[in-house]
Amino acid sequence: MIGIVDYGMGNLYSLSQALKRLDQDFVISDHSSELAGTDGLILPGVGAFKDAMALLNEKGLSAFLTRYVQEKPLLGICLGMQLLFEESEEGSLTKGLAFLSGRVARFSGISQVTGERYKVPHMGWNTLEFKQPDSPLLNALEPDYAYFVHSYYAETKDSSILIATADYHEQVPAVVGSGHIFGTQFHPEKSGVFGQALLKNYLDFVKRMPQAKAAVSRAAASLSSGEEEK
């Protein structure tokens, strides 16, 4: 069971329909009690960072998500991805969930290379460059076009979290992740066949997670019992 975090920011219908097309059971909720029972979460969102964090804090969801991701997977989409970072300069400086290191900044609108103006938002289909083709999110995928629409992007010095990037006058983190916490700046639910395959990869990852964890804890248990025998 997947939980879609509904904190009042944006349109969940397309995402829920994409999950339906993948025969995925899901619950849409803003109650941590309901979301706690799920196997993995999706944090969507369009709109302003500050409003989103205010709503997450107000509903007690920030604290809930922080606990949740210690055990289970999360995928942030678009603004939902940006919220995973430490802070954003959108509006006034606002603290994020800080699951990933980096900050969210606005596209300057002026090319550092040529000094020419460019369009903001970054809107449309852009190509991806895979930085970590072995990531479970990119399983069996080739670099392709994905649909972006955003005026802010994540700046990070931690290259280990960059799974795929796009080039739009800046290096735009397009798929990010650390452990079982992931984010996509683009909209997989709007990115055609490629986006659907990436979403499916996340859902498969969520399904494998309990087995993977059980294997790890079995290994740890046998290790510690082995130690005791010595």
Binding site: K119, P121, M123, G124, W125, N126, T127, H187, K190
Partner: protein
């Protein structure tokens, strides 16, 4: 690299797809969901649904059309026509539309652009501008109500204002070119694209693949929209995209 977008436009009346030539003659043709999936299969980058229903019943049907399309379609789409309030905007976006386009209602009530942008972000508010060259003043005038009502607004100034109010994209239709199939209005398209910092969609006048190339090169458009030539299979989205790729345009 960010690709130039090819956007088929579907005019919808009372839940059925139709297409107007010069905004007046209508020819009935098709089911919105079926056509959306057809264009998606052809490689369309985005779709625009323009609701030209005259009645409230017809407009209410649009929310159902949007839901049905969103359930199937995995690419973005915009809905325009008959959107007069924040409530209308909310209903369409919640039904699964990615963007709404405001035309007459934005001219009459520019605050609606800001209200929509504040609520959902500027990326989902498109300002649609119908413009016609005025030889007397040598400028482009904005028209509303499906091209029937002339306003005092200059198209370039209005585009700039709409963006300052929160519009995240401009959909520019040349009334001089619309239905003529002799190419997009390149002069105005370029002027507006240079005047605003948001993407501009060129519309009106597409007749062949090279017209799209001109819209992107000479017209500096970020996307180009067409209806009849796709709708009546005079050319296909796939053919246009193949042509543009050969010409070295970044195309998905």
């Amino acid at each position: 690299m960010l690709a130039k977008r090819i956007i088929p436009c579907l005019d919808v009346k009372d839940g059925r797809v139709v297409k107007g030539k010069q905004f007046i003659q209508l020819r009935d043709a098709g089911d919105p969901v079926e056509l959306a999936m057809y264009y998606n299969g052809q490689g369309a980058d985005e779709l625009v649904f323009l609701d030209i229903s005259a009645s409230n019943e017809g407009r209410n049907t649009m929310v159902d059309v949007v839901k049905a399309v969103a359930a199937k379609l995995a690419i973005p789409f915009t809905v325009g026509g008959g959107i007069h309030s924040l409530e209308n905007i909310k209903a369409l976006l919640r039904a699964g539309a990615d963007k709404v386009s405001l035309n007459s209602s934005a001219v009459e009530n520019p605050g609606l652009i800001t209200a929509g942008a504040d609520f959902f972000g500027c990326q989902c508010i498109v300002c649609a501008i119908d413009a016609k060259f005025d030889p007397e003043t040598s400028s482009y005038r904005v028209y509303t109500h499906g091209g029937q009502k002339q306003t005092d607004l200059d198209a370039i100034e209005w585009a700039k204002k709409a963006v300052s109010l929160g519009a995240g994209e401009i959909l520019l239709t040349s009334m001089d070119q619309d239905g003529e199939k002799s190419g997009f209005e390149l002069n105005l398209t370029r002027k507006i694209s240079e005047a605003v910092d948001v993407p501009v969609i060129a519309s009106g006048g597409a007749g062949k693949a090279s017209d799209f190339f001109d819209a992107f090169s000479a017209g500096k458009a970020d996307a180009a929209l067409a209806a009849s030539i796709f709708h009546y299979k005079e050319t296909s989205v796939a053919q246009v995209k193949t042509y543009l790729k050969q010409k070295g345009v970044a195309i998905r």
